[in-house]
Symmetry: C2
Subunit: 204 residues, 2 copies
């Protein structure tokens, strides 16, 4: 019964729904909802959103020191001279910094690798920002490298690689604890998580 000879809404609306639906985490229903919202939203909000999206790629660059996203030579964290200069926390992506800063327990600096070593995807140690990290260790100020790559095969391979590279320099290398996430039940924890929680058991 469905009529596909003519669409059920205007072409420009379909185009907007399609464009929005290509974004990650936006399904067809959400795309539709957003499109109809934008059609009724105030003109200035729509123009402002359009401009912000258009300009994002031109306005951002990489921090000269830590490779975080930045809109000037240095990112806001590297601009902050009050942080602890003897620690660098190594993450895969800029958004990982946001997550860690949201927690607020870490006061050192960061380094963004922009990826992880992945032989299956052809990403080697040369394709991520490891050289930039090694340069930062030359001045002898850094006493601890905290590896905060993802707890995935790629993230752990990257952490292993970095650990072998940095430990010989006499710098302490640590990584985020592996264990049971807060709020879960032991009964439902997967085997890998449970075995790591047991191996890495901490003094009470």
């Amino acid at each position: 019964m469905k009529d596909t000879s003519l669409p059920s809404t205007a072409g420009v609306v379909n185009k907007l729904i399609d464009s929005l639906g290509k974004l990650p985490g936006i399904g067809p229903k959400s795309a539709q909802r957003l499109a109809f919202y934008l059609m009724r939203a105030p003109e200035d909000q729509v123009i402002s959103l359009s401009d912000t999206i258009r300009n994002i790629k031109n306005q951002i660059s990489q921090c000269r020191i830590c490779c975080n996203v930045a809109d000037s030579e240095l990112c806001p964290i590297c601009q902050n001279t009050k942080r602890e200069t003897n620690k660098i926390c190594v993450v895969e992506q800029p958004q990982d910094i946001l997550a860690l800063e949201h927690v607020g327990v870490y006061r050192g600096y960061y380094h963004v690798l922009h990826g992880a070593i992945s032989p299956t995807e052809g990403i080697t140690s040369q394709n991520i920002r490891i050289n930039e990290l090694m340069v930062r260790l030359d001045n002898g100020q850094v006493e601890e490298i905290i590896l905060a790559t993802n707890p995935t095969t790629e993230g752990e391979a990257t952490a292993m690689y970095l650990s072998r590279l940095i430990t010989p320099l006499g710098i302490k290398v640590t990584r985020l604890a592996r264990g049971l996430p807060f709020g879960t039940e032991l009964e439902y924890a997967d085997d890998v998580t449970l075995s790591r929680a047991m191996e890495g058991r901490q003094n009470f």
Copy 2:
């Protein structure tokens, strides 16, 4: 411990996250994910999305007949001369047409009210497209009006109002069935749904 004196990411990135977070159904985490996606997306996809958003308000208008969104004088449905001219299905919003067309069992035309009567929000019968609907009934071709307003207080008040207005014209007025939604369990149905399902019980 959290440092609020300097943000943890570049200002333009924060601005994009804020703008995206104002959209309906996009929480802070989704906004962040979208922002970092857009920063890495191909230039042409980003520009195209920006343009589509910017132009949507200029390019759309209301269908001269049914008040659906349109990018020319008539919406795609009113342009389609193969549909059944003796039926009009009345909906609150243009996106309701998409939902009904997706189902594909209805072959008549539509009318979009752009709202529902709501005394608490100060929306009267004059603020929604009821006059435009009444004009369409003048030619005597329409034999059935299907009221497909939302099953909410406002939607039902609007349906009641329209029913009283249209029934005296000798036109059959129906509405979408009220009852148990598919895939739910009777045990968990709310009282209103259950009482309507009982009152409106259908022959098997």
